[in-house]
Symmetry: C3
Subunit: 398 residues, 3 copies
């Protein structure tokens, strides 16, 4: 979005229809209208500007933000902690091993028990296809029911910190990054982005980032080109959605067979590893069956097949084929860097090094995006409240 | 307590003698006078009302709340975190594995080291008979001594989050729940509560909940009926206390031989599993002796004996025999539910499902009860301070 | 420092040159000027006085304090948590196992990712000679670069919570303790301190405390006597530094061959175990080589050699040989106490018991020292800001 000031951004926010965000969850970007997505981006930018002016956006005097991480995380963990803190909430992690969940407690019960003074629940559950999103919905339905029954005095918001389908806090940060890079949402129209598979010596990375990207960026009139080796398909329903989005927005969604083709004349590239779809499905089956040996075998087999595509890597050579040889390189990080974190990986170190500053800038939007999602789900009149806070001008650092 | 407003409740609180709660700990409900217990309940209700009015009860601008959990916990962990946060304290968990306690440090030293800027220490230590309460007292005595010697500038309060003897944050929440259900403390007089053992395919659950219940509810003129299979006795001194309480309060305390007899015409039922007394004692011995094999053998033997009493379960049939077939069903949760969390458990799913809303309401009092315990130990003139806060009306959510 | 009041201490602080502390890190005390060290001590004392007057020193409305502990800790962990909380920061621990660091991420990247809304990063990394300080510097350089490049909107401060070379939050607390004990910094001149090795049945304790002590206390005109068995040398460059400091300050630094000689007429004694220098070096080698068996063998061998010096222990007998038999006994705690935490250890229980109150007082300075280090790195005009806060007089407890 154009680097305009706080008053203009609040003014623009006030024209958006955001009532459906209030007291609601954030699961998938495609659940949300363009107005709603834009509102999230605008509030994130307002929070970022306020920080520069040393104005505190703390709206809570007390309250709990619960995090549930069912997979490793650094970036998102710290982003959620930072966002919660920025708004005045205290983080409380649900550690499923230290809790009585081990005793066989239902999702509905646990969700209620952690929610009595809770404003938001952030969940990462991305390992098993068909599971993560389902679990997040179940938590949300549980607390919603508790709220309707009067058991909970407030309705905690569920924020998807990555599920098997989408990773909205990541892709919205990515979107804000490219908007700022290209100086406004309207300038994304017609820009080409290559979202491509890349080789990594690890296995089982979720599909949610590439899915989230094609599901989101096709809504802005962009030309989205997806490339991956045979067998590394994404969920067909998300591809269908991307196709429909592109039609609606006047953009394009295409599937191509090689990284080379995708990169050709691209304004933006997003090369990233993910697991083969069939492996993800098989993995869920074997896990449910408690087949530990089978899981190990699957991993070995998967790493073996990955090797067939070791040439799917983002090189300097390839970067030269992009628009004027200067495409914006995106990655959700950490990247598997050839010669740094592994022998052969997703990207050459020279490419990563040259793009380090924009990459780290990209990651830096996430705390603000999450704070915006929480804020819009908790505050009924966001533009009014932000105006009030900016006018009061409470200092963040004394 | 009757659903009256904040001013009336503060007015009532102001008539209570609470000075002995100030700068003191909360170990066992029977250490406390009726005035003191009532004050805790009243402050908890005031905090709950304040939340509905969006008034913040934050009394600390900074300060640490330390939690020490020597057993799994979800409910109490989150309740303590929420209560601390509500009052403005930051939670800091003492993780005994990550600390230097492994180096053989004394309780006195650790207690001091974690207390320099600490206002409250919440402790769960419920696994070993004769150990938990003793440990909590030792922590309290250590910080008290540190305070007297000028080593600590403040006297941290110890709150019992469950020991081997009592579970006061649970039973006080239970009490507040039944008081609100029956529309006032005075209406508890003459009500019958069945606190009974129930079958569970797990072993070693602490005795503190049933003990806490008979030690507390006998003080309110209730008719308390305790039932358990042979060998599942509670600590004899707590039973003696319950008998004495009942005499003093004009209530009754009886031991009966079956769940059926206890449930007969009961207004409230609290069927719950616990470990055989002799097993709890033996377990402590074997643990102290480092007899790991013996512990495994004991567990197997205990689960085997449990099976003799698999019929001690709370069924719809049994619920029909309670007062007008409509007794209030209590559980501290999580319950072992037949067909849900285990094959045969403490309660039929239909009973639990029908009582889900009151059960979750019961659990929801705990953060307020804990906050009230902390508040009364830290604030010398509670009624005055609450009036001040309510008049100022600082918003919890902006 | 003399027990004078807040205004005088602020007045004194205002005469110190502290601009080089602003936006800077705290690695080693010998990086800092006398003015800078004195400023840290003065701010720590002001915070301690403010607490007694119930005035809050909260300067942050929000913000994150990250802790990275690569070794066990109780005291420092709680001190850092308390200091952060006192200033208004929320603690977020980086748990390297739960993060994606396992995936082979670079220090630079991790440092950036945890820093977007972060004000301070506290690091303990003391196990491997040549590693801890290097790592802390790398983190600091990473966030500094991020700040210069505009990736980070603020420059997070790195605070050394113990490295392989120094343990400044400990030694500055020790210094403040002895200053208050002897009623002012000027009274340290000519006082003799014995910093001596002592036997412990544990292995591999870092050298950072004795190194930090000789590197710091030689700057105040003290007579520092170091004693240890053959082979338990400290880093030669730190000994050189101590020698130079002593020359500059008009004090003395001597190495003697026995505990007895060091204790003779000492005003202060600091007997403490540490690992043999060669073992520390060998250990780093074996660890880098992944030689687990070799590490176990090294430990056994080291414990065996330790036994040759089992008589290096602080006894009542020895204490009688100190100045008027009444030297101040220091320890960073936990001490290995003969007959309490081990069969034979660093100190007799009677010595420890008699010095318990001053020992716990010593440890109690650490939260204030850390808060002072953070404050001075974040606030450009510390004396002015403190005056403002004291005048406003916001209550810590309502």
């Amino acid at each position: 979005m154009k680097k305009i000031g706080i008053p203009e951004t609040i003014e623009s926010l006030s024209t958006k229809k955001t009532d459906r965000l209030y007291l609601n969850d954030f699961f998938l970007t495609w659940d949300k209208s363009m107005d709603e997505l834009t509102a999230v981006l605008e509030v994130a930018e307002i929070f970022r500007y306020m920080r520069k002016l040393n104005i505190s956006p703390k709206v809570f005097d007390s309250g709990i933000a619960v995090s549930i991480f069912r997979d490793k995380s650094t970036r998102t963990r710290f982003s959620f902690a930072s966002a919660s803190n920025l708004l005045g909430l205290a983080l409380q992690a649900l550690d499923e091993e230290k809790s009585q969940i081990a005793h066989g407690e239902t999702v509905r019960e646990t969700a209620t028990m952690i929610s009595y003074l809770t404003e938001v629940i952030g969940i990462r559950d991305d390992i098993f296809l068909g599971e993560g999103h389902r679990y997040q919905k179940e938590v949300a339905e549980s607390v919603h029911q508790g709220y309707l029954e009067g058991v909970l005095s407030r309705r905690p918001t569920v924020v998807n910190l990555q599920c098997d389908i989408d990773h909205p806090t990541q892709t919205m940060s990515d979107l804000l990054h490219v908007m700022n890079y290209f100086d406004g949402m309207e300038n994304l129209r017609g820009k080409k982005i290559a979202i491509t598979w890349a080789y990594s010596p690890s296995y089982g990375k979720p599909l949610s980032v590439p899915q989230g990207i094609i599901g989101l960026l096709t809504r802005f009139g962009m030309e989205v080109a997806l490339a991956h080796p045979k067998g590394y398909d994404l969920m067909p329903e998300v591809e269908d959605l991307a196709r429909k989005n592109a039609l609606d927005s006047g953009g394009a969604f295409s599937k191509v067979d090689s990284m080379e083709e995708a990169f050709q004349d691209a304004d933006i590239v997003y090369p990233k590893s993910w697991a083969p779809y069939a492996v993800m499905e098989e993995r869920t089956q074997r896990l449910k069956a408690g087949d530990d040996e089978g899981l190990v075998a699957l991993e070995a087999q998967c790493l073996e097949s990955n090797k067939d595509f070791i040439d799917w890597t983002c090189t300097d050579e390839l970067m030269k084929t992009t628009k004027e040889g200067g495409a914006l390189y995106l990655h959700c990080l950490p990247a598997d860097i050839t010669g740094v974190s592994c022998e052969r990986g997703e990207v050459e170190v020279s490419v990563l090094d040259r793009h380090r500053v924009p990459l780290y800038t990209q990651a830096g939007y996430k705390p603000y995006i999450i704070a915006a999602m929480i804020f819009l789900s908790k505050i009924e009149n966001p533009a009014e409240k932000l105006t009030e806070m900016v006018n009061e001008g409470r200092k963040r650092v004394l």
